[in-house]
Structures are given as structure tokens and as C-alpha cells.
Amino acid sequence: MSDVTMEVTDDASATRIDPGESLPPLGTVGLLRWLWKQLTSMRTALILLFLLAVASIPGTILPQRGINPIKVNQYLADNPTVGPILDRLGFFDVFGSPWFSAVYLLLFISLIGCVIPRVRVHWRAMMAPPPAAPRNLQRMSFATDFVGEQSPREVLDVAQKSLRGWRIRRDGDASISAERGYLRETGNLVFHLALIVVLIGIAIGGMFGWKGNVIVREGSGFSDSLTQYDAWGGGRLVHPEDLPPFSFTLSKFTVDFERGVAQRGAPRVFQADVTYRTSSGGAAQPARIEVNEPLAIDGVKVFLVGHGYAPHVIVRDRTGNVVFDDSVVFLPQDGNFTSTGVIKLPDASPSLGFNGVFLPTAAVDRVRGPHSLFPAPDDPALFLGAFKGDLGMDAGTPQSVYRLDTKNMTRIGLEPLRIGQEWTLPDGSGSVAFVGLERWASFQIAYDPGKEIALVAVGLAILGLLFSLLIRRRRIWVKVLPAQGAGSLVQIAGLAKADPGRLPDEITALARALGCTDDTTRQRPVDLKENA
């Protein structure tokens, strides 16, 4: 039956060599060839896919630096023995770790090693006509024969016409071989090649792309240069000095929260109204940025990612001089926007520092201390803890603007303030007033030149996938012999890999078209085992 087995590369085992059967040969070249065969074998691909899945899991269980560095530090502090070991092994940056990269790079090498030869094989198969009809059609899993009234030539003419859309080989008046479903392998190859392009797109984004985060208060502006960012990260081939110098000002930030019982406090509206200028200058244009509607300026996208409150505070020193008069960004700590922030006044005399908790809707209880009941500023209060002494800012070590180092400071006191209230510091070092409230919005600003490539490739991949999974490659043969007297003896048979799909129906339809009447049909039953 070897003459009828399909050389369809549809079944990858046809080109992928079974590694279990061959032992490594001697010699360097032989060994390398053997290793290459191992790597590009289907079984290796399968194992690498499993490894990829398993290697991803720790990234969802352990905190990841790329997503939440604070949680990673917390984990390290909580697990002083295991933590550093995991850290050294890259478990807090799983998707950038050498072992994760090794798995996917090996997978892609295996993919390339498998797909490229198959492209050649498939190309040849598409160029060549289908193989001639085998001698014994009745041994095929789907077969039928009958005596028709037409001559052999007429039967084959009709068959050729009926098999429109099939690739046909006609051997005189004796037989027809027809094959279709080549797009299955085409789709398969397109899918795998497209995956490589997706990876290229990701790599381009990684090398040439960058993104940064910035907090902008209402009424304040931002211009695109490295110093303006609170956090910025770019690929190796990005020159920070080449950032497009666009700018924008946050004119108004609108936010609304659910006040009903169900999901009370959940956000309902975020809107940032800005005016922006492109790199080439020109007039300022108004725009609105919302959560699902980023603003594109000069190919760079500006996303609204967060918001919070900035209480406006005025601080006076002991002589009554204003040493600070500005709004201060407070960072939200919970869903109700209990927020924390600090004010540092190293140049006041004495040096002053304030640790603050801002509550948009204030409440105090024994267990939770001061906390907020609702995210909107229905009843705002600012709790300030005042300190004096060395802020530790001259030591040269960089400090977070959101954290007060009170190691070398003395505590003056703690006071809750409402808007309009002023607190005279009890030791006479000055006074602090809570004069108003502003909002801030945080933006992610990102540039990714590889994403369009990845998107197009992924579209091709899906298309290829559909072809490779939904199209079935199959063959039909028609053989005719002149019957005694007039007419002809017609044999029809079909072969499909694994899943016959509608092949039996197609054979029945062809038989009918060739003049088969029901009572003359003989048919072997559908038996999948024959095809497996």
C-alpha cells in the first residue's frame, strides 16, 4: 500500500524525524547534525512548548519587578533566606530571565529548523501534479464502484468538470487523480513564519521603544524630555536626547465615582482635558484623554493611567515669611483615596518636614486610624505630622520625594486640618495652612515602533491558523474501464489524513454526477483506523 500513502507534509512527523530511533553518530559534524535533528524534531518542539507554559507560571505567583517592584522588595524583606536565592535565579523577572529566554529562543530555532525545509517541500508539492491513481482503489477507506452508461472518456470528462477547484491529473482515458486542500499546509507555514515576524516586532519595540510615567497637576504642564519624567525606561538603541519635544498642559481633570449601593466608590468617569503642542511647534490644540482613548502626538501615545489629590499648603517660618506655597502630590493608598505625601523644607530655619495623610472623605477610628470613606472630596481633611531637624538631603544619597527620612529629626506634633485652617506649630518654628485642593493625573507616555509589525504579523498568523486547522487535504481518484457492451466500469476512491471531514459526501456527490444510481453503489464503511 506504499504507493497510495500520502506524502502530505500536513502530518509534521513526515518531515520531523523521530529522535527516539537514532543514536548519536560519531564525529563532530555527525553529532551536530544529530543535535540539529533532535532540536527540530516535533517531540522537542512539544517539550519546549510545555516548558514555556511551566516557566511562565512563577511569573504569576511571585511578584514581578516589571509590574510591581514594591511588592518584590516586600517579598524579599519577608523571606530573607529564600528571597535572595529566588532573586539570583531571576524569579522576580521571570520573563526577562535567561532560562525563560532560553526556552523561547530554542523554540523559535526549532520552529525555523522545521518550517524552512517544509516550505521547500510544500512548494514542490504545489508545483507537481497529484500522483497517479493506485492500482487497487478498492482498498482505500472510501471507495465505490458502479457500471455507468457513458463511455470512459465521457465519464472522465464529466469528472474533470465536476472536480472544479481540485488540482487534477488526467491519465488519458484511464484515470483522474484529484487533490485539494493545499492551503492547509500553506496556512500552517504562514502561521509559523508569522510568529517569527511577531517576535521581530516585539524585538524592534524592545530596542527602539521607550515609555515613561509622569504626574501632572491641574494647571501644570509637561514637555517631553527625560528630566520631566518620574520614571522612564527605553530600549538600548534609544537616545534620550532625541525624544520628540512635544508638550501639553493639563487644564482640567474630571472624575466621578459610583454613589449607588452596588460597587459604591468604583470609578465611573476619568477625563483629562489638555492642550498640547507638537514637536514642530504651532498653536496649542485642545484634546481630551480618557482611559480607553489615548492621545497620539508625533507618533507617541499619551495614556491616562491614574489620578489623585494635591492639597495646596502654605508654610511660614517663625518670622512669618512664606517658605512654601504650592500644591503637593499625594499618592493614593486605597480605593477610597486615603493618600500619603510629604513636604520637605530643607532651607527653612529650622529645616522642616511634614508627613501627611490626605482623606477626601475623612473618618477616624481606633483600628484603622485616619482613613477615607469615599474617593470623592466630600469632606476633605489633611493630617499633618510636623518634624524639624536634618532631612538627610545633603548626604548626597538620592531620596524619594514621597518619603520623609525622620531618623535625625524631632517630632513637633500632629494636627488634622480642614480646608482654610491654619496650624501654628507648638514649638514656635512656624505655621502651616491647608488652603485648597487640586487634582493630578498620571500619564504613561509610550513609543513602540514595533507594534504595527507585530499586529500585521499576528493578523497573518490567525489567518494562517484558520486555513491550517479548518481546511482538510484530501485526494480523490476516478478509474474507468470499458464495460462489456456499451458503457464503463467506474471506480471512485478517496483518501484523507486523520480527519475525513466531508470527503465521503464529496465522493457520493461525484458518484451521482458520474451517473451512479443508488442501487448500484457499493461502499466500504467509514473506518478511521485505516487513515490514522
Binding site: A53, I67, V94, R268, K529
Partner: protein
């Protein structure tokens, strides 16, 4: 109708669907219990078919077996009818929920779950119009009933507006694709699980007929073919769902892929099903091993749905359950 009535109607329809499904479950179970053995199994005896010779009927699919020959058919038919009824009730419940909330009913886990239940039934019933799937009814109904039970007890939330992050037409595209996948993956897991049991029973029986309740399900080979066909349909759709999610993420968060736990588990699910497709054409991996991979893929999908929403801190934490 005012909102209270809408709420009551939506919840009422879903409870009614659960009761209907419970009765359907009994009916399917009765059909399994009645008649321990297949009276006639035409597909299993090709020799007998050959002797019939000369009829085109032989070309028809082996699934279309003469239905009168099997005992327990009547209760299985009752089960199917009740499942259709439950599908209608459930669909009504989901639509009313959407009307009540004034948006697509995909804002929290309760809504995802009841829609997923509709999706499982839709895939099952849709497939059943083309072939006899009465044997699968019990397993599908159990899965749907569990989903709904969890939805109305643990996951229930009052309808509310969407958080701004969900206000996007991508919600429609991404979530609907993912929900259809949940239905199809669940059914594939059922056929894969059954194929493992059935093949084991076939091996034990040797040349004899399979007895017991497994006699009522199709042959292991046919179950595997079904599983493969469902995955062949679902895998591209899942790929699309993940890609649609990535496009949406790019639009909402400024990056199309960030290895957020939800994204990572979606990726794991994708990789496991990709492994299944490769296993189907690898020597020594077809059959039971491939079916086990389908179960693993389904598990990853479920971890993504339940585990990530409740356990991990993810950008996708839309459970709405406090």
C-alpha cells in the same frame, strides 16, 4: 419595567433555568442508567455492514445510528428538550441583566459566568443540531449547573455601571470571543475526559463490547476526533481573543503585553493548546496523552478565570465581589 422588576425578572429567569437544568440532569442520568448495554452498535461491527451491501445508507455518518434501538432514548430526549428550554431562560436572564444595567452584561464575574453558561449551552446545542450528542448532555448540564451555582451564590453582584477601563467596544469583541472559547473549551474538555475513560474501557474489554455507562458514549476514536475538531475551531478564536485583548490593552494601558497574571495565564492556555495540536501529529502522543493536554489547557483556562480574579492582584480584577 422599572429596574427592580428587571432585576427580579433577570434573576428569576436564571433560577428557572437552574431548576430546568436540574431536571434535565436527572433525565440524562436516567437515560444513562436505563439499559446497561447498547442493544445494537452498528458502528462497532463493520462486517455486518458489508453484508448489507448495495445501499447508499452506508455512506452516512456512523453517528446517525437508528435511534429506536437504544433504551433510555426517551429520557435523553426529554433532557435535550429541557436543555433547550434552559438555554432560552438563561439567554433571557442574561439579556434582561444587560437591559437592567443598560450595557453589555459583561461587567463583573457574575455576568461573565452566566454568559459563559449560555455559551457552553449554545456550543453544545449548536453541535447537537448536526449530530446526536445526547450522550454528552449529562456532562454539559453538570458543568453549566456548577457554573450557575457558583455565579448566584459566590459571585453575585448587583448591576452597576462599568468602570472607565471597561468602557470600550473592545469589551464586546474581546470578552465575547473569550466567552465563546470558555464554552467550547469546556465541551472539548468533556469529550477529552470521556475519551480517556472510554479508551481505557475499550482496552479492558478487549474484543468484547464495552459495558456499563461508557457503552453509551461514542468510541474513543470518535471522541478524540470530536475533541480535535472543537479545538481546531476554538484555538484560532482563542488566539483572536488574546490578540484583541492585547490591542485593547495597548489602547487602555499603553502596552499591548505586560505579563499581567491574566495575560500570562491566557498565554499559558494558548501554549498548552498549541502543544495539543502538535501532539496530535507526534508519534506516541496521540490518544490519551493528547486528551490529557486538553484537560491541562482547560485547567489553565479555569485558573485564569477564577484564580487570577480572586487570588492575584491583576489589572483584570473586575470580579466586583467584595
Amino acid at each position: 419595567m422599572n429596574s427592580v422588576q428587571l432585576a427580579q425578572a433577570s434573576n428569576g429567569a436564571i433560577y428557572a433555568a437552574m431548576i430546568t437544568l436540574a431536571i434535565a440532569m436527572v433525565a440524562f442520568a436516567v437515560s444513562f442508567a436505563s439499559g446497561r448495554r447498547r442493544v445494537a452498535a452498528p458502528a462497532a461491527a463493520p462486517a455486518a455492514v458489508d453484508s448489507v451491501g448495495g445501499g447508499t445508507a452506508l455512506l452516512t455518518r456512523a453517528d446517525d445510528e437508528p435511534s429506536t434501538l437504544q433504551p433510555g432514548r426517551r429520557s435523553a430526549n426529554i433532557g435535550m428538550s429541557l436543555t433547550w428550554l434552559a438555554f432560552g431562560l438563561l439567554l433571557t436572564g442574561v439579556v434582561l441583566r444587560g437591559v437592567w444595567a443598560g450595557r453589555v452584561p459583561w461587567g463583573n464575574m457574575y455576568e461573565f459566568s452566566i454568559t459563559a453558561a449560555v455559551a457552553v449551552l449554545a456550543v453544545f446545542l449548536g453541535m447537537s443540531t448536526r449530530r446526536d450528542l445526547r450522550w454528552l448532555g449529562l456532562f454539559v448540564v453538570i458543568a453549566v449547573e456548577l457554573t450557575l451555582g457558583l455565579a448566584v451564590t459566590v459571585l453575585y453582584t448587583e448591576a452597576a455601571q462599568l468602570v472607565p477601563a471597561l468602557k470600550s467596544y473592545w469589551l464586546l469583541i474581546h470578552v465575547s470571543a473569550a466567552i465563546i472559547c470558555s464554552g467550547a473549551f469546556t465541551i472539548a474538555a468533556a469529550t477529552a475526559g470521556l475519551s480517556i475513560l472510554r479508551i481505557r474501557a475499550e482496552r479492558k474489554a478487549g474484543d468484547a463490547q464495552v459495558t456499563g455507562w461508557l457503552a453509551r458514549v461514542p468510541s474513543g476514536e470518535k471522541l478524540e476526533l470530536m475533541t480535535q475538531r472543537i479545538i481546531a475551531f476554538t484555538f484560532p478564536l482563542w488566539t483572536f481573543a488574546v490578540v484583541a485583548g492585547a490591542i485593547w490593552a495597548e489602547n487602555a494601558w499603553g502596552r499591548y503585553w505586560g505579563w499581567d497574571p491574566k495575560e500570562t495565564w491566557a498565554f499559558i492556555t494558548w501554549v498548552v493548546f498549541a502543544a495539543y495540536l502538535h501532539a496530535r501529529s507526534t508519534q506516541g502522543w496521540r490518544g490519551t496523552r493528547a486528551s490529557l493536554i486538553v484537560l491541562a489547557g482547560w485547567l489553565a483556562f479555569m485558573i485564569n478565570y477564577f484564580g487570577v480574579n480572586f487570588l492575584a492582584s491583576s489589572l483584570h480584577s473586575y470580579a466586583g465581589v467584595s
